[in-house]
């Protein structure tokens, strides 16, 4: 109560954020920069590259481990398995996009797994109403839950950890009650295809061409805009690299997927959600305000930002992601059950953290969170491959949990070590 507010300080009424519990310390002595040779990189950028590097190392390692007489170059990055790996990433990835926004805003959502279960279960039960109502049910359930939890956090000032911890129990209870031990099969063909379908190869090629065209257009427009504002446009090498490297990645990706019948629909949905999330966080005022709210809620509020509305909106977006995730999850499994989605929230949080998101809020990127989701899925996928081909052990799931836990702690540990040195 009163003693918590230091004397002579005007009190401000606002929702709590994670950083209130552990205020971030800012080292004012040196800029957070790390130099590699003559290159100086902001720590943030460096972290993204480190994660990318880690992903490549993990991939190469698994590729090497899965070399067998049948597959002398390894199984892991084989288009068949790669396509499967991306499908496994989809659900965690979609949830990580929503979770990233929640964490950046200085909040946390522990109810995601239960919401996925409830939204998926309701959608499966609503199949009798037809396709569109069934699909909408999942989204509506997610958004409404987001609205309830978001309102409690934003307008009642209850910490999100508590609200969503309660939600985790309550929504799980709701789905168990609704499902009553049954497993409901997904019967509607279009619903099923969300998990099993493909983007037709020719459509994939067209989309890739469009993406590359957009990339060229926006890169050139950016340079024109910089010149117009009297800033130095990026040099020729940088411009070409900025167009060519992603173009190659897109082309190789589409080629690989098309050898397997096209881009799997769950992967397509994940990529769409990730692009939308990246756009929202990086190129809109909403995104900028999100980082401000998590970075310093008091300063954000005094700068005219409506904290409560932004926090509420963030939880609604998280709910929508949980709804979409639930559709992909149930469609991939072919059914909905009471325990569906258990512990998914931890996967989503772990993906964000591995991708360099600060749990204190104000820091993190969609790209990093997606990378984190991919790293986690790679470990899962790689280890089950190994257990089948080499280890022949019956304990692969258990091993996966142990390794994933260790990787999560190690990722943050390396990050902290890096920061301490600078």
């Amino acid at each position: 109560m009163s003693e918590q507010i230091p004397a002579n300080e005007p009190a401000i009424d606002r929702p709590p954020v994670t950083a209130d519990v552990m205020p971030p310390t800012v080292d004012a002595e040196g800029a957070p920069q790390t130099s590699i040779g003559r290159f100086k990189l902001p720590t943030e950028t460096l972290r993204a590259y480190t994660m990318l590097f880690a992903l490549v190392v993990i991939w190469l390692f698994l590729q090497w481990m899965t070399m067998t007489p049948d597959h002398p170059y390894g199984l892991f990055l084989d288009p068949v398995n790669f396509s499967k790996l991306l499908k496994q990433t989809a659900v965690t990835g979609i949830l990580a996009v929503g979770m990233l926004m929640v964490i950046v805003a200085g909040q946390i959502d522990l109810s995601v797994g239960s919401v996925v279960g409830l939204a998926g279960g309701m959608a499966a039960l609503a199949q009798g109403w037809g396709l569109v109502p069934s699909l909408l049910t999942a989204i509506v359930v997610g958004v409404v839950i987001g609205m309830i939890q978001g309102s409690l956090v934003a307008y009642m000032n209850i910490p999100s950890f508590i609200v969503t911890l309660g939600g985790m129990l309550a929504w799980r209870g709701a789905v168990l009650w609704k499902m009553q031990g049954r497993t409901v099969t997904i019967e509607l063909p279009v619903y099923r295809s969300i998990g099993e379908g493909f983007v037709a190869p020719i459509a994939g090629v067209v989309l890739a061409a469009l993406a590359i065209a957009a990339l060229i257009f926006f890169t050139l427009r950016r340079n024109r805009a910089r010149r117009r504002h009297g800033l130095t446009p990026s040099g020729l090498t940088a411009t070409v690299a900025r167009i060519v490297i992603p173009s190659i990645v897109i082309a190789v990706f589409i080629y690989m997927m098309n050898t397997q019948g096209g881009v799997p629909l769950p992967v397509f949905i994940f990529l769409t959600v990730a692009l939308a999330g990246a756009f929202l966080t990086q190129s809109t005022t909403f995104g900028r305000y999100l980082y401000a709210v998590g970075g310093n809620p008091d300063a954000a509020r005094l700068s005219g930002i409506n904290l409560r509305r932004h926090i509420l909106l963030t939880f609604c977006l998280m709910g929508a992601m949980a709804g979409i995730g639930a559709l992909v999850y149930t469609a991939r499994n072919g059914s909905a059950a009471g325990d569906a989605g258990t512990l998914l929230e931890l996967d989503a949080i772990a993906a964000c953290v591995i991708g360099g998101t600060s749990l204190m809020g104000g820091r993190g990127t969609i790209f990093g969170a997606c990378l984190g989701a991919l790293i986690m899925a790679s470990l899962d996928n790689g280890m089950s491959l190994l257990s089948m081909s080499l280890l022949q052990t019956e304990h692969s799931t258990e091993m996966q949990m142990i390794v994933k836990g260790a990787v999560l702690v190690a990722a943050v540990g390396f990050d902290m070590l890096g920061r301490r040195r600078s």
Binding site: P10, A11, P32, G230, Y289, A300, R301, L302
Partner: protein
């Protein structure tokens, strides 16, 4: 006064300390005798804090050059603990007390008197109460520290240092948050410690206090010692000249402001304390400002100055009533965005807490409040922002490599300029400035004074709150004085003498107001 023929208690010789790319200390020499108060002054970034961190063992031996000698013996501190054991106690600006614990628990934290691992509470509290009595502090050692004001907390820190039998006490900006009475109490205690032969290093930006309390003054500039002299042989102008490396003329440039029509008026503002029902922090305060006018609000800490501005800006947690008029029209301000929309800008007091997002770039900070105007309602335009940010950086002379430098790495003065730029980029008609020069160095202060005058000349209405009386008197066209939430006086520039304003600030009501 100490006998100067004795060997000094502390000698720091030729101290050199480098950070990547910066030489923070360059051959600094400093000494301290028992029973003296030696003031250390210099602009921000001059190296005062670095020097004290070397002394306090924050930077371990080997990471700096030069030697530290206590009573002619070379000491090498590898940790803060080593320094403490050698009798050096540093009291930092940010207090390091645990608010939930009592005074006694805080004083003996980590060194509780105990037997077989069990804390002897009676002994702890009786020793604590003896310590407090020695300092003439009338406090119950069982009071939680969180119940004390900042000033008393500071004194508890000093008691804690004394309980460790510190022979050298370093005080870093000890009066930054204190009222005048609390400063007097603190100085009384420092004087008693001087008699008990404790050597004290006193770091402060407030030169009048430095002159009141210190025996000698050392000026640091750009990591070098400019000189050490007895306080009696110095005056403020000479110290400032040494700090900035040039003679300073009039700090407050004479300004002739063209005053226009009334642009902003507040009537009958009342703010209730959100924690204590029925207590009014601001009680029926009204004021108006004209175009091109600087209105100063003077008053002591706790008089309700910041509460008044926060409330008008729609950011106070307490229940607020009253009327606000912008350009003659009644407006409703429920939250800060309303105020911003009506052309009010607010440079708040505590820039680290209320002004900046420390781990974001200068650019993101500058454009935060005016984002829709600078960039777009929904989509952001980074390049348009960067261009506006770069312009502001040039105009306000923010010293940083680029607009993408992280705000937390800037010096106080440059951080304050970033906050100012943020509000100027909202295109305000009225600008509230709450302690705009707190904790920033003399050079940056002067730049901000010049900026205030320029903005007023350009037609901005400015409301200035400051604890530094010369600042309010030097910049304002008109001054109102608050005391315990009420207006106790209003002065025109010509009639505002420090004595008259201070009288109102301490509760005397001004009789005439001709």
């Amino acid at each position: 006064m100490a006998d100067k023929t004795d060997a000094p208690l502390l000698e720091m010789q030729n101290i050199t300390k480098s950070f990547p790319g910066v030489r923070a200390l360059d051959g600094v020499t400093f000494d301290l005798y028992a029973g003296e108060i030696h003031a250390l002054v210099g602009e921000n970034g001059a190296g005062k804090s670095t020097l004290m961190k070397v002394l306090g063992g924050v930077y371990p031996a080997g990471s700096y050059g030069g030697e530290i000698m206590l009573n002619d013996e070379v000491h090498r501190f590898n940790s803060v603990r080593d320094a403490e054991n050698a009798g050096i106690a540093v009291i930092y600006q940010e207090l390091s007390l645990v608010k939930e614990m009592t005074i006694g628990e805080n004083i003996f934290l980590g060194r509780e008197p105990r037997r077989f691992g069990v804390v002897l509470w009676d002994e702890l509290y009786s020793r604590a109460s003896r310590l407090l009595k020695e300092l003439h502090l009338q406090l119950d050692p069982r009071t939680p520290v969180g119940h004390l004001g900042i000033g008393q907390q500071q004194l508890v820190e000093i008691a804690k240092a004394l309980s460790q039998e510190a022979r050298i006490l370093v005080l870093d900006e000890p009066t930054a948050a204190l009222t005048d009475t609390e400063v007097a109490t603190l100085f009384g205690i420092l004087n008693r410690l001087r008699e008990r032969n404790v050597g004290m290093i006193y770091i402060s930006h407030k030169l009048d206090e430095v002159f009141r309390i210190s025996d000698r003054i050392t000026v640091l500039r750009d990591g070098r010692t400019v000189g050490t002299e007895s306080t009696k042989q110095l005056d403020e102008a000479r110290v400032i000249a040494r700090m900035v490396g040039r003679e300073v003329g009039n700090i407050f440039p004479e300004a002739k402001h063209e005053r226009g029509r009334v642009i902003f008026e507040a009537r009958g503002i009342r703010v209730e304390d959100p924690n204590i029902k029925g207590k009014l922090l601001v009680n029926d305060v009204g004021f108006h400002v004209r175009r091109g006018e600087v209105l100063g609000i003077a008053g002591l800490m706790g008089a309700g100055r910041s509460d008044l501005l926060m409330a008008i800006f729609g950011a106070h947690a307490g229940r607020t009533t009253g009327e606000i008029y912008v350009e003659g029209e009644r407006v409703r301000v429920g939250r800060p965005s309303d105020a911003i929309e009506h052309g009010v800008g607010f440079v708040t007091e505590d820039r680290k807490r209320f002004g900046l997002i420390l781990d974001q770039t200068i650019l993101n900070n500058m454009t935060l409040a005016g984002l829709p105007r600078l960039s777009g309602e929904f989509l952001t335009d980074v390049d348009a922002e960067a261009a506006a940010g770069a312009r502001s950086m040039r105009e306000l002379r923010v010293k940083a490599p680029s607009v993408f430098t992280v705000a937390g790495t800037l010096s106080g003065g440059n951080q304050q300029k970033v906050v100012l730029a943020k509000w100027l980029l909202t295109n305000p008609k009225i600008l509230f400035l709450d302690e705009p020069t707190r904790g920033i160095d003399v050079g940056a202060k002067q730049e901000i004074y010049a900026l205030i005058n320029r903005l007023a000349r350009e037609g901005l209405a400015i409301v200035l709150v400051s604890s530094e009386l010369p600042e309010v008197l030097g910049l304002s066209d008109r001054v109102i004085v608050l005391h315990e939430g009420r207006v106790t006086g209003e002065f025109k520039r010509a009639e505002a003498t420090p004595e008259a304003v201070m009288a109102c600030a301490t509760g005397h009501t001004k009789r005439d107001s001709g």
